[in-house]
């Protein structure tokens, strides 16, 4: 089993090396085949590991490859850590990753950077696997940086477009801010506990008795800042919508299904820490809530199909952080899984639409695509029902679990979150109606619109099935079926649970309340869908091309002016200060100093160069005199 675990990340890495070295040499079929095969192989090996793990005793398996660095007081190993949480993430990452690789073969077929694309995609998969498999915080950090790099490379994949490069840089810089928080958190942990190995950390953190220890509060905030950057939470979320500059499969894989959920993974991984600091949990709850609200509101007035999905992702990530904030780690991971299915499906569906319409992304120029793209339509509808939270689709169960836990711990938060769920249903069905219903509003002739090829439609169908039934791994308690995910995950969450129990921080709700929450969320979703129906089907409204009117509409369609605010309070002052420093320090001080050194050297060498006469006898004389001088010095010690 140890060998198998080490093989999992090695397979995509091999794919990356082969494709990377073979850029321009391998045929498209071969490059795509290597990429997809590497991810499939990783998926198969992950399943093997899952089965072997299940037949074991359920204890975390640590694979120690070698000692990475050591000092007198601590030692960091290059090790992998496999437990229930890792296995679930492995399944999601490799499984969804494989489907998206297959989709990309069809989607990127015309692209000249085909081989480059697959090598980056495999490198991403490798980094993501290192992230989830890492046996200590530093290993996770390697993967964390790796996925950030791949995100940067793939957002700027079409690097001839300057705007796309700007988007890539923005994503990278914003992620760096988060990474700094993560790194600071690692240092704080190392300083306090002398280890960052997960197995040892759980024990060390389990021994903590105090609630809201200030040192740990700061540690928790640092890790959460890391999670904020990677998972696009307020205030570091603006990079994610811009990241839609990348090819659509990238948006599906990196910016919806896997990388952006690594912040949630990190918090769940550190649940033993967060359980002891309820103040930070409260903070996470409200940050997640604000992000969910802002993402959903902006999503209602975007007209780019991918931008709508991007803000939806921001909003759904907010939901997951709300779940983390109320200590519902299982619910958060449950939503990560179902979200990976339906959001990957939505993005791939959007990719299929964009592909079918020859790179058209504006939903005002779509409409009536139901007949032309039947498979895409049906799968998109399934994903929509899932994200809107209509039973029995997967999103219903995971969202309901989050809502129920929020209800149990904070009624105000519950009400806001339920309203956000309604807005979610509204903007998703707005998208669906505008894209697939009514008449086609674009300029392409009917024959030119084509359904996706098999390599694209099969992943869509598989993801649609998963989005439809994926929720059954975590049925609510009232149904008296086992919560498969919760039971499986219980050992990982044991430290948080026992801490909450001893300090009476846990919340429970009765069955009647649970029914009520479920009913309420279905009703709210239906209301959202109903409003969307009346606006975009009955009244056949189409978002106008003109500038938005009304305060609220202006606010949402301009994304709450967040980018403008950042520009005014961060970018512009930094530019100003940089300008001042450029003149003051760079030109006036450093340049003058450097130039003075140069002038001095030049002058000295001008003087000394006369000694280089080129006369051989002169050199010989000098040599003779020098030797004589040395001889005199050594024989008589005169000097």
């Amino acid at each position: 089993m140890e060998k198998l675990i080490a093989i999992i990340p090695a397979l995509p890495f091999l794919g990356f090396v082969l494709n990377g070295l073979g850029v321009g040499k391998l045929s498209k079929g071969l490059a795509g085949g290597i990429g997809a095969l590497a991810s499939l192989a990783a998926f198969v090996v992950s399943i093997l590991v899952l089965f072997q793990f299940k037949s074991g005793d359920g204890q975390a398996v640590v694979v120690n490859l070698w000692t990475w660095m050591s000092s007198s007081s601590w030692k960091i190993d290059f090790s992998f850590h496999v437990d229930q949480l890792t296995l679930i993430m492995l399944m999601v990452v490799t499984g969804v990753g494989f489907l998206i690789h297959v989709f990309s073969i069809g989607y990127m077929h015309e692209d000249e950077g085909f081989g480059k694309f697959f090598s980056f995609l495999n490198l991403f998969l490798f980094s993501m696997l290192v992230l989830v498999l890492g046996g200590n915080l530093l290993m996770t950090f390697i993967g964390w940086e790796g996925v950030g790099l791949c995100s940067f490379l793939l957002i700027g994949f079409w690097n001839k477009n300057e705007a796309f490069n700007e988007a890539a840089k923005k994503a990278f810089v914003m992620n760096r801010i988060g990474d700094l928080g993560f790194l600071a958190g690692i240092f704080l942990i190392l300083f306090r506990f002398g280890t960052c190995q997960y197995t040892e950390l759980v024990q060390a953190l389990g021994a903590i008795e105090t609630v809201n220890d200030p040192y740990l509060v700061w540690t928790g905030i640092c890790f959460f800042i890391g999670a904020m950057g990677k998972s696009a939470q307020l205030p570091l979320f603006t990079w994610l919508p811009d990241a839609m500059a990348g090819p659509t499969p990238v948006s599906a894989l990196i910016h919806a299904a896997t990388m952006v959920t690594s912040g949630i993974y990190l918090v769940i991984r550190m649940n033993a820490l967060y359980a002891t600091i309820p103040d930070v949990q409260e903070f996470i709850l409200w940050i997640g809530m604000a992000t969910a609200l802002i993402g959903a509101l902006i999503g209602t007035s975007q007209n780019d199909i991918k931008k709508v999905l991007a803000y939806s992702t921001v909003s759904q990530l907010g939901f997951m952080f709300v779940a983390l904030g109320v200590g519902a780690y299982t619910a958060a991971l449950f939503h990560v899984i179902t979200h990976a299915f339906f959001k990957a499906l939505l993005f791939l569906g959007a990719g299929s639409v964009i592909h079918g319409l020859h790179e058209e992304q504006d939903i005002r120029k779509m409409g009536g695509l139901k007949k032309a793209l039947p498979i895409t339509y049906i799968t998109f509808l399934v994903a929509n029902l899932a994200i809107a939270g209509i039973p029995p689709f997967s999103g219903f169960f995971s969202k309901d679990e989050i809502l129920a836990h929020t209800f149990a711990s904070n009624k105000v938060a519950y009400i806001i979150l339920a309203i956000i769920a309604g807005i979610t249903a509204f903007y998703m069905f707005r998208l669906l109606f505008l894209v697939f219903f009514n008449e086609y509003r674009g300029k392409l002739s009917a024959e030119k619109i084509h359904e996706a090829p098999a390599s694209m439609s099969i992943p869509l169908i598989i993801l649609a099935v998963l989005s439809a039934v994926g929720g059954f791994i975590g049925l609510p308690e009232v149904f008296h079926f086992p919560h498969l995910l919760g039971d499986f995950l219980a050992p990982v969450l044991q430290p948080a649970k026992s801490f909450a129990n001893t300090h009476s921080l846990s919340h429970t709700i009765s069955h009647s309340e649970e029914w009520m929450v479920m009913g309420a969320s279905v009703v709210i979703s239906l209301i959202g869908i109903g409003i969307a129906y009346s606006m975009y089907i009955s009244k056949k409204l189409v978002p106008s091309e003109e500038a938005p009117v009304g305060f609220f509409h202006k606010l949402t369609s301009n994304k709450f002016y967040v980018d403008e605010i950042y520009d005014a309070i961060i970018v512009k002052p930094i530019n100003l200060i940089s300008g001042i420093f450029a003149i003051l320090i760079d030109i006036l001080m450093i340049n003058l100093f450097v130039e003075a050194v140069g002038i001095l050297t030049k002058g000295l060498s001008m003087g000394l160069k006369t000694s280089q006469s080129g006369r051989v006898t002169g050199y010989a004389f000098l040599m003779f005199c020098s030797i004589l001088a040395f001889a005199v010095f050594y024989l008589f010690k005169v000097f």
């Binding site: 160069k609 000694s611 280089q612 006469s613 080129g614 006369r615 051989v616 006898t617 010989a620």
Partner: protein, 109 residues
């Protein structure tokens, strides 16, 4: 070689030292003042041989054969050095049609 043979005692050791010094000085003067590469080369050989002479003289007067062994080595190396040095001079001559070293001032700064 416990004893110094009678014949050598006729000439005192400082005569050898003076002779060697004179030869060495002539060599240095030759190197520094002459411009013909071949003569410079000959002067270097003169310096080398004056040192050899000194080696042999001291070796004899100290009854120690090491110095004479050294001289053999030096002569062997000098032979090799002459071969290389003369080859260089031949190449120089082919290139500039002269053996005057004052023309070779390309290294001027």
């Amino acid at each position: 070689m416990n004893q110094i043979p009678e014949i050598f005692r006729v000439v005192p050791v400082n005569h050898f030292v003076i002779l060697a010094s004179i030869l060495f000085s002539i060599g240095i003067l030759g190197v520094l003042t002459r411009r013909n590469a071949i003569i410079i080369f000959m002067s270097i050989e003169l310096m080398l041989n004056s040192v050899n002479l000194l080696f042999v003289a001291f070796s004899t007067y100290k009854s120690d054969p090491a110095g004479q062994v050294f001289v053999f080595f030096i002569m062997a190396i000098a032979a090799a050095e002459v071969a290389v040095g003369l080859a260089i001079i031949v190449m120089i001559y082919r290139r500039i049609r002269s053996t005057d070293v004052s023309i070779l001032n390309n290294l001027k700064g």
